[in-house]
Symmetry: C2
Subunit: 347 residues, 2 copies
Amino acid sequence: MKKTVTTLADGRELLYYDSRDDVVRDAVDRRPLDAVSTSSEVRRDPLLGDSVAIASHRQGRTYHPPADECPLCPSRDGRLSEIPDDSYDVAVFENRFPSLAGDSGRCEVVCFTSDHEASFADLTEEQAGLVLEAWIDRTAELAELPQVKQVFCFENRGAEIGVTLGHPHGQIYAYPFVTPRTELMLRSMEAHRERTGRNLFDDVVARELADGERIVLTGEHWVAFVPYAAHWPYEIHLHPRRRVPDLRELDDAARTEFAQIYLELLRRFDRIFGPGEPPTPYISAWHQAPFGEPGREEFGLHLELFTIRRTSGKLKFLAGSESGMNVFINDVPPEAAAQRLREVASA
Amino acid sequence: MKKTVTTLADGRELLYYDSRDDVVRDAVDRRPLDAVSTSSEVRRDPLLGDSVAIASHRQGRTYHPPADECPLCPSRDGRLSEIPDDSYDVAVFENRFPSLAGDSGRCEVVCFTSDHEASFADLTEEQAGLVLEAWIDRTAELAELPQVKQVFCFENRGAEIGVTLGHPHGQIYAYPFVTPRTELMLRSMEAHRERTGRNLFDDVVARELADGERIVLTGEHWVAFVPYAAHWPYEIHLHPRRRVPDLRELDDAARTEFAQIYLELLRRFDRIFGPGEPPTPYISAWHQAPFGEPGREEFGLHLELFTIRRTSGKLKFLAGSESGMNVFINDVPPEAAAQRLREVASA
């Protein structure tokens, strides 16, 4: 893998990750871009105790552009995009419309492939492995920024969940605080340790393996299951068998097998609702340990993959109970979801 | 106000709330309904520590029926609905497709008016006052059920947030546990008391009144503002000036003024995005103290009203950061939202 670091016309960082070591990425961004000025502000809610990013400059962000104006395609035929080169394998750059910037963190865009029409599930294992290397590298670099407490690599896929650029891409949010979701897990983990003397993540995976009913797929180094109390109609948690706090600590064997396992899960996701159904909208979220927190070594890295589609043509909405009270109602029993996700395995 | 209690053909409870004391509600439900069988199950998530309602029977629930098959209209002209009478003011009944039932709680539907084409904002003050009386009565009755820890009255409005019945209605969820959202508030409240010796809800309202910049509307008995760390593009919190833990303890003066204030807020909501824009989708949520919890007397009842529309034709989606990490990104500064909500006041 070869990594090339450069900057865009407005000073934002751009990184190329290539499979071939002999690729030269020296194209210059010739766009007349103004310097990025953002007004991101993190405010603390006194009642909920959480932090909200107020980012008004984002209202003007690029919204469903036509394919020939895609800012994530390579620059070609005189059309200049966010990526100056006329090709790339994986490209990462700082978001021009960040939710978090400066002291409040950093937001990056990860272009999974230069092929505008592809989706992650269409990648080869080699390409998917390269994306994993990019996630690992970004986690390692962002961990070094003094204001960053936690790195979140994720993909939103599908207009139904608000994706405004069709080009296959994900995002990385580097937060200046431990997120509420991670805080909940750390708290449960500590309580479990006190009560049982054991690690919560290990026990959750062991229980799912013992039950078996909600297992979706197992590899030599990974276990995928629908959790016992799944919040979403179809939700998969993917854990490495050897628990590690974050992506950097995955060993070579786990890294190598990841691409194969993850691609299979994504391909099954697109088959849940049967043939002729449009691609399944999903959110794919890496849960990593925050930096410098007590207990971080006990945290269990895992990937959460879920869809908001509950049945053909119908979405799960976060309405009163979920948005008002944080109580999820799930219409699909986790055991039925797991069975469906086993049925649609690749031949 | 006159309340009439009866039952539907399958044994579910139905209650009429009428403004006139001389109304007789004795129509019988003549539908051949099977007894309701639900498989609601509450499961605890070991990582997040929250409870999820698994309710698979809901997949078959009524979904966008044509107006002449509306189950919330009165029964008329030989067409039998959920409400046997041929008219009503406010009607409440147990949901046939509940997320919570039996030991796991109870779900009710509140029909705000028999007028299928109306919305809450179209009600008269008298009608809105009657809905408030129904909410108060339901809170009082559900508080007596031994399995119920918390009563949540709310309205989801608009297909954009998943409403599947167009008839103006809200819902009541009676949870068998303290919800995660309320737990967060109780925890912040206790920490604030320890740190300052003061009540958090009182201090939040006092701060907003002192700042002034985010105030939307004040009455003699109510204060409405956009909170300092609003999570949603347009979000209003409505607090009674005299703090009470739940709806039952509002005094007559606050009850009387509520209808006027709330109707004005809803009407402003429909004007945020200018003329010609379809009605604003919203969630309206009553935050009440749970029952029998330490500190419940310190809790501050308030109503939270918010929309997921961020600008004309564009919705705020809960994507990776919100759904994966519980971190909200808000593109509309609260001060700008409040200013807009003052601009669109009724003449």
